[in-house]
């Protein structure tokens, strides 16, 4: 077989195929539920109910979506420039680490700490990604492997700190840090509802990235580098500098996920702060076709599946890992569907 570009795809093709990808994903999910001896439709019903069936469930989904918007944006920004940042997990923890350090070590009033912690996190995440990116631009070391390996190194570093110098003396032996003061927490958006301003910051970030990508020189340069780095260089785009700026932006966004989880939700740093938000960010970004506003929608969808599957597995005998399988399938089906909107498969 070979592929032939379609000059102008029909609307049915460009919308129908991605929709079909989602349908295929849920067919796989249904089969998995049957494998577990559950009724597929009832299982999906329980997932929807668990994700959006009550005010509590809905708020839980929004809370879970918050870090995913940040990591999804981090991946989307990087992938747009063909910077393969698979290290959002490490950058997230770097952000959480700086947030806790500033929040617990600097005796400043809350209103000063809140922005200071955010800026610190933003910077820390950027710096963490800068290493692999400089290795890429200066020495040609592939950033996929280095960013992946950094995830493991960062988790061990956090573990070292939580069992050593940063250990909470009142933590009953658990490896966790001291909590940041009450007045340095991100406030709730609406009083009484468990949804903090981290969600608001995530939405603002999505809009900001959209503006940067569509209305600024940097956004134009990032796209040029991503489409064809050689041609961009020839046209006078400083490719190395654009890569560095992209890294700072991408790493910083991922770190804000850590900031928002600590300052908005948890208060302290533990080794299970992120159940793989960094890796899930890749799925979120790809489902959104790397569009910053799309990231918000896909983060809500992905968070819904996770929160829903948690609720579902309490009621039915289907393991929660069904959520991870669904997302992996969604990712693979979606990239294939997107390809087929632009190319026709010919035989021979």
């Amino acid at each position: 077989m070979r592929l032939e570009a379609i000059a102008s795809p029909t609307l049915v093709r460009s919308l129908g195929l991605p929709a079909l990808a989602l349908v295929a994903t849920f067919v796989v999910g249904g089969l998995l539920a049957m494998l577990a001896g559950a009724d597929p439709l009832a299982t999906f019903g329980l997932i929807v109910k668990g994700a959006a069936g009550s005010r509590f469930a809905l708020l839980e989904t929004l809370n879970r979506a918050t870090p995913l918007i940040f990591t999804g944006l981090a991946v989307a920004v990087a992938f747009r420039a063909r910077l393969w940042n698979i290290g959002a997990e490490a950058q997230l923890y770097a952000g959480a680490l700086i947030t806790v350090l500033i929040g617990t070590r600097l005796a400043l009033p809350g209103p000063v700490l809140i922005p200071l912690m955010g800026l610190g996190a933003l910077l820390a995440g950027g710096v963490v990604l800068l290493g692999p990116v400089l290795l890429k631009t200066r020495l040609g070391v592939d950033e996929v492997v280095t960013t992946l390996l950094f995830n493991f190194i960062m988790l061990l570093l956090i573990s070292l700190l939580l069992e050593g110098p940063m250990k909470d003396p009142l933590g009953m032996g658990w490896p966790k840090s001291e909590a940041i003061p009450r007045d340095a927490r991100l406030p709730r958006i609406v009083d009484g509802l468990r949804l903090h301003w981290g969600f608001g910051l995530a939405l603002l970030s999505a809009v900001a990235i959209w503006v940067i990508q569509t209305r600024t020189t940097l956004g134009y340069e990032i796209r040029a580098v991503g489409l064809n780095a050689e041609a961009a260089r020839f046209a006078g785009v400083p490719v190395g500098a654009v890569m560095v700026k992209t890294a700072l932006l991408s790493g910083g966004l991922a770190a804000l996920a850590g900031y928002s989880e600590v300052a908005g939700l948890k208060g302290n740093l533990t080794l299970d702060l992120s159940p793989g938000f960094g890796y899930t960010g890749i799925v979120v970004a790809m489902l959104a076709l790397l569009h910053p506003l799309g990231v918000v929608v896909s983060a809500l969808f992905v968070a819904g599946i996770f929160v829903g599957a948690d609720g579902m597995s309490r009621a039915a005998e289907v393991p929660t890992y069904i959520a991870d399988i669904l997302l992996a399938c969604a990712l693979l089906f979606m990239v294939l569907a997107i390809l087929l909107t632009k190319f026709r498969v010919l035989r021979g």
């Binding site: 070979r2 020495l139 799925v283 790809m286 393991p319 890992y321 990712l331 693979l332 990239v335």
Partner: protein
Amino acid sequence: MSEIVDILISASFWAAVLRIASPLIFATMGELICERAGVLNLGIEGIMVIGAFSGWIAVYSGLPLWGGVAVAMLAGMGFGALHAVLTVPFGLSQHVVGIGITLLATSSAYYAYRLSLPQVTSPPRIEPFQPVQIPGLSDLPFVGPALFSQTPLTYFAFLTVLVVALVLYRTPLGLALRAVGENPGAVEAQGLSVTALRMGAVIFGSGLMAVGGAFLTISAFSSFFFEMVNGRGWICIALVVFGAWSPSRALLGALLFAAFDALQIRLQQTGFGTLVPYQVFLMIPYVLSILALILMSRRANVPAALMVPYNRGER
């Protein structure tokens, strides 16, 4: 320093080096085959997980140990086939598909584990491969216990390197495979199918990765744990680069790497271990991998068509 010397002259240290290297050798050879044919296989981490799980569950449900190896290989080839279809004929991004395969294979293994053993709190054990003594060789002083008291899969790992090297450099198939990673157009002009060669390489390579994963559950340990692969797949990708895409040099890299790993485990139990937090020792493999990548960056002979999809009839 004398502690390090003591460790290096003990036979059990060298036996551990070969044991630690074995899963890495299988998976590194698998990745090397994929990359020589022009396909970066980031599914490696997940394929090792599915290999570890499927090989173990097959033995747990009554198959002989070699049956477990075969099941792991088949499971790896299955996910490899999915990777191959998406990246070769469809030419999708090898980064995205690879990450997707890793997520899919890992979560499938975890889902199947929970499904088949819903009630267990501690993972059940199987009877794993036992060391095999080789007549004559195993009786040699020092060398015997150090090198020739291994489980069959370890000997098999070294055999795999030999076979991969022979096939790559001494057979027409190997020539075609190497060519398809350098200049697929030229291979096509010879009347060979680029698609078939690349897909075959990815599928077979993925099978080897899964055997590497299965080594963990049915040779090194006797149970399946979540997160037991723990980044070994990513380390193997670094080893392929370190070995400059040559089987013998990649083998050397895996052994060197395993030696450092075996050393750090033993150092943790010496006076060193009380001075330095254990996390520092655990970081060493990942830091070494990054250093290896930096060291080789200047003189890497990357296959020219690595990560370049081939679409027939397109210039």
